[in-house]
Point group: C2
Chain length 298, copies 2
């Protein structure tokens, strides 16, 4: 990992975590629900999505993050956490381990876990809308979040995922599934940064191409880890994709073929940023460094 990325993470991960810990309880009016929501939000996630948003602001030359920007970026972690809680439910993937601890429904029951997810999803929209950003930015964020997280984005991907278990998809359908299921929220993470940094249309287009390749790399890497890691390393159950006959890259290309595909996608993400290092005021070295998350041993 680059020193710049390490410093960025060391600065901003605690900032987001503190924001979440301090502010989440203020907007929950039932004690068990509050505990259930906080349990998963504070479970030590990597905060990749809000960090990506803030990295776009840093790329645009911001050294300080405004309170409204921090609130809007943190909202994305609320939304991501909801998606994990619902995804883990017995009615969905039925996982009992996440980030090394029992999943929300194991701890609080499936009913309360459903509500914790519903609460986090709704609160994400509240945090995006009730902050001191300009009105046009807030509305653009609400719209982009709904489009990417909702039934034309992430929820469509989840529906595709559970509908196609035990049914091998060809590559175009698999990429469509992943673009929705994992890609849409990473797309939004970068888009939220563009909205708040007020990047030019050219810059936004390049950054969103980067985001989409980044999202694809993320899913391919996640598929690979499921095959090649232990539960101790991942903090969640492994080899579950095969057990549940999920559609994955290793299922389609094998492990070696998947590693090759990952390298290609990471290269495409890097290439997408290159015009910006010449033709714009943006400093894309930090965003480029995010691609180091996808390094495979051996």
């Amino acid at each position: 990992m680059s020193k710049q990325l390490a410093t960025f993470e060391a600065n901003f991960r605690p900032l987001i975590n503190t924001y979440l810990t301090e502010n989440l309880p203020k907007d929950v009016d039932q004690s068990i629900l509050s505990d259930a929501m906080a349990y998963s939000v504070n479970a030590g996630g990597k905060l990749l999505r809000p960090l990506l948003t803030l990295a776009v602001l840093v790329a645009a030359g911001q050294s300080e993050i405004a309170t409204g920007q921090l609130r809007a970026a943190s909202a994305l972690e609320l939304l991501h956490t909801y998606s994990l809680i619902h995804d883990d439910l017995p009615a969905m993937d039925n996982d009992d381990l996440r980030r090394g601890v029992p999943t929300n429904h194991v701890k609080f029951g499936a009913g309360m876990a459903t509500l914790a997810g519903d609460g986090l999803l709704t609160l994400a929209f509240q945090w995006v809308a009730d902050n001191d950003l300009p009105a046009d930015q807030k509305l653009a964020l609400v719209n982009a979040l709904a489009v990417n997280a909702g039934p034309s984005g992430m929820v469509a991907g989840q529906a595709d995922d559970i509908s196609n278990e035990h049914h091998q998809l060809a590559l175009p359908a698999l990429e469509n599934l992943h673009r929705h299921k994992t890609g849409a929220l990473l797309h939004y993470a970068v888009q939220a940064g563009c909205i708040m940094a007020q990047t030019t249309p050219q810059e936004t287009a390049a950054l969103l191409t980067f985001a989409d390749q980044f999202g694809l790399a993320f899913q391919i890497y996640d598929d690979l880890l499921d095959v090649t890691s232990t539960a101790e390393q991942l903090g969640k159950r492994v080899h579950k994709d095969a057990q549940e006959s999920k559609n994955t890259y290793p299922g389609l290309f094998g492990v070696e073929g998947t590693k090759t595909r990952l390298a290609e996608v990471v290269a495409a993400a890097k290439t997408a940023l290159e015009p910006l290092s010449q033709d714009s005021q943006l400093d894309v070295t930090l965003l480029t460094a995010f691609l180091s998350y996808f390094q495979i041993e051996g």
Copy 2:
């Protein structure tokens, strides 16, 4: 029912239904998910919440409803439908009949029903934000919807409800539960009308007092029907509150005591509107007529 209310329903219920039927599929990018969402949205709900919103606009003198207002009002039906789908899930109330037809999870499975709810909740925010209303109204709607539907509103009430089964609550705690669980969304229905009609602070305060008494009456009436009706009449399972040891008014006051309480609350709702019929430009006869929904036989 008053002739004015019957005419209003005959005009606006088909308008909302047509809007929902035509526009819902445009924002869903997965076919089974689209079917699951449409199944419950088009199941013949009474559309009480969007009708209440539009009734405030009519009270303010509007004879025509603008497209953006119709979209924002219809969003509330998306949100209400999500709450019913999740409430019916096996992990929650485990109901298999709703509006006379199988519940969403009976038809599509609990996983897809969870996603249909998630999709409707997210899409509600999209519809409130991407329409031709002024930006300040849209942001006010997003905020009010999140506060009333989320973990400080309806979701808190649901959490209270499932946490207190088999545990008799005293009246203040029961009213707090109902204010969140049922009241918050009816509060928002009227508030959304106030935002779009740009009512004065005094008018808004009176209308929201009406909304809160209306919400209380709604829950008391719902509790009564569960005790006194048949499944054929209601299109859903009856006597389930007692079976599940839910906290209800009849459980606390008996049927006759509950009828007395209902009459008191309906009277309070009516009283809340009275100053408006003297001191404002609003015509509250239509809103007053909504209280006829709570008539008990005998």
